[in-house]
Point group: C2
Amino acid sequence: MKRIADSTVRRLSIYLRFLEEFEGRGKSTVSSEELARRGGTTSAQVRKDLSFFGSFGKRGLGYSVPELGTALREILGLGKEWRVVIVGAGKIGAALAQYRGFRQRGFVITAAYDTNPDKIGRKLEGIEIRDMKRFENDVAEEKPEIAVLATPPDEAQGVLDRIARSGIRAVLNFAPVQLHATGDMTVKTVNMAMELEGLTFALTNSHE
Amino acid sequence: MKRIADSTVRRLSIYLRFLEEFEGRGKSTVSSEELARRGGTTSAQVRKDLSFFGSFGKRGLGYSVPELGTALREILGLGKEWRVVIVGAGKIGAALAQYRGFRQRGFVITAAYDTNPDKIGRKLEGIEIRDMKRFENDVAEEKPEIAVLATPPDEAQGVLDRIARSGIRAVLNFAPVQLHATGDMTVKTVNMAMELEGLTFALTNSHE
DNA sequence: GCTAGTTTGTGAATGAATTCACAAGCCTGA
DNA sequence: TCAGGCTTGTGAATTCATTCACAAACTAGC
C-alpha cells in the first residue's frame, strides 16, 4: 500500500466528523466543495485525499453521506472496539480516564497502571488502578492494542520500552519528551508546551 | 520575514528542551548531529532550521549551549511573561488550570470564564472563575495575549468569535471541532480524538 | 433521448520541505 | 605556522504535498 501522509489521515478524521453531523441531520449527500469549506481546505484536496483509498462519489451528485461515513470509519479502523490502557495515574491520566470522547468512539479503557502504592487498588472513574509490576502479565492476557502514556517525563522512555516489549504497537504520549520507538510502533505525542510555543512564536514574529 | 514552516517551529521547541537539559548538566557545547539524534531528525535539518534565524554555531566546534538556548527562547518568544485566560471551566479547563507546565514556561493564567452560575465565583487552583459576561470588559482592561478555549464543541465557534473581537490573537483550542478564524489570528488545536484515529489508522493499515 | 448543469477522479504543474554534498571556517597539537 | 580533523552554513537536488484543470460521468428537465 502506498504510504499515506499524516496530514491526509488527519483530514479524513475531520471529514468523518462532518459526515456524522450530517448523518444526524438526515442530509443524504455532500459534495467535496462542501466538505472542503467546513474543513478549511479545498475541494481538490478532499477528492485527492479520498482517491488514495478508492472512489466513493458519484459524478454530478457528490458523496452519499452514510456510504462515505462507513468507508471512512473503515479506513480509519473505527469499525471495531479498541482496548486502551493508561500508564500513569497522575493528573493527566486521571483527566483522560474521565474523558468521554474515548468510549464515544469505540475505545474502551481496560485498566490504568501506576507505581505509587497509595494509588494502586483505587479506582478512577470505574477503572481499576493496578500495580505497574503486573503490566506485562496483564497485557499478555488481556491484549490491549493501545497504550496511553501519562507518566512523568523522566520515566516516559523507560515505560515506552516496556510497552514496546509487551507487544503493544500504538502509543498516545502525553509526556512532554521526545520518545524513540522502534520501527513497527506508532507513537503520537500530544504536547501542549509545544503548541503554546507555536503561539508565542506567531505572536512574537508576526509583525516583521 | 520569510514564512517559517510550522514543522520548523515545533522542532525548535524540541531543540530548546534538549538545550535546557544540557544546561542543567553543565554541558557547554553541542553539535547539530547530537541535537538531531536526540530529536529524531537529521543534522542537516537542525542546521537548516536554525539558518532561517541566523548563524549560531562555530564551525568545527558546534553550538554553545547557553547561547543557542538564549537565541531559541528569543525566537520562540519565551523571553517575556504571557498572560493566559481559560474560557470554559469544565473538566478540561480544570485540568489545564492545574497544569504546571504553564507557569514553568512563563505563562500566567489570569482568569477562567464560564457561563454556569454554579461555577462562577468559585476558584480553580487559585484561579478565579468569572462570569463570561465580563469577558470583553476584562480583556480590554487586563490585556491577556492568549486564550485557551475549553468549551463544549457546539459553543466553540461562537466563543472564538468573541475572543477574536476582544482583540486576543492567539488561541489554544481543546474543543474537538474545526474552527474558522480570521487571518490575523493563530489558532492551534489539540484534538485527542484525531490523534487516536491516527493510531487506529496505522494499526489497521500497517499490514498491507 | 437530448441538452444543460453539476461534480467527481486524476494526471500534470506547482509549491513546500527535506536531504545532499561540499566549501568555508575553526580548533588542536606539533 | 601549518596540517589534520571536525562541524557549520547553504545552494542544489530531491522528495513529498497541494493545487490546477479538464475529461468523464451522472442528474434533471423537457
